[in-house]
């Protein structure tokens, strides 16, 4: 079994990029792979707690928590988060915050990297 590092970047909540990243993580873990998920730019939106679940908006807290319980490793870019007013104090439990070098470090022993950039 291998290791997959996913980076999900500056993208709209409404773009479903984060939803895609979470579902792909789940599928990879189900097949026994280890998954690191790095969120940067607007992707750091996924990292804060108490996002009220409405059916009109993507709501990823629940699936993310379930996956973290099973070993998904989620880290948010600290500077990108702070610039948006997301602080340690309202970070979702289990989500780590580090500098951008964490993402590069994660790729070191990754078998595959999927960087979700785009617009």
């Amino acid at each position: 079994m291998g290791k997959l590092t996913i980076g999900c970047f500056a993208s709209l909540v409404g773009s479903l990029n984060l939803d895609f990243a979470v579902k792909l993580s789940a599928a990879a873990m189900e097949k026994g792979h280890k998954v690191d998920l790095w969120v940067s730019g607007n992707g750091t939106m996924i990292s804060i707690e108490e996002q009220r679940p409405f059916k009109d908006y993507s709501s990823l807290e629940k699936p993310l928590k379930e996956l973290m319980d099973k070993g998904l490793n989620v880290t948010a870019c600290e500077a990108c988060a702070e610039a948006r007013g997301y602080h340690d104090s309202n970070t979702l439990k289990g989500v780590k915050r580090f500098s951008m070098d964490w993402y590069l470090g994660s790729t070191f022993d990754a078998d595959r990297v999927l960087h979700i950039g785009g617009e």
């Binding site: 997959l4 990029n17 599928a27 189900e30 097949k31 792979h33 617009e119």
Partner: protein
């Protein structure tokens, strides 16, 4: 290199695919990229289907937009799941590109 490219837009904003010349190319249509598999523009299938590549389209993203496997206009496009994407990435390709 063996490269799998993810296409997530219908109206493309980059020409990158025109120039990538990997030894083996896979194209996975996701998000609004699925329209390349289901919609013709003025009767013409999408030029995105003209590359020398293996084509895949994500079932969840087809269904989200109101389509099923039977709406896929070209039989060379294979309908796949998230699990299939993982297997393709690990077994058939060594690098990936989200275009």
């Amino acid at each position: 290199m063996k490269l799998v490219a993810f296409v997530s837009d219908y109206r493309m904003t980059v020409d990158t695919l025109d120039r990538l010349k990997p030894e083996k190319l896979g194209i996975i249509l996701v998000q609004n990229g699925v329209y390349h598999a289901t919609v013709k523009d003025k009767g013409n299938p999408s030029p995105l289907l003209d590359y020398s590549a293996d084509y895949y389209v994500l079932k969840d993203d087809l269904e989200t937009r109101g389509y099923t496997a039977s709406d896929v206009v070209n039989s060379k496009v294979k309908v796949i799941s998230f699990g299939d994407i993982v297997d393709l990435m690990f077994n058939d390709y060594d690098k990936s590109a989200w275009i």
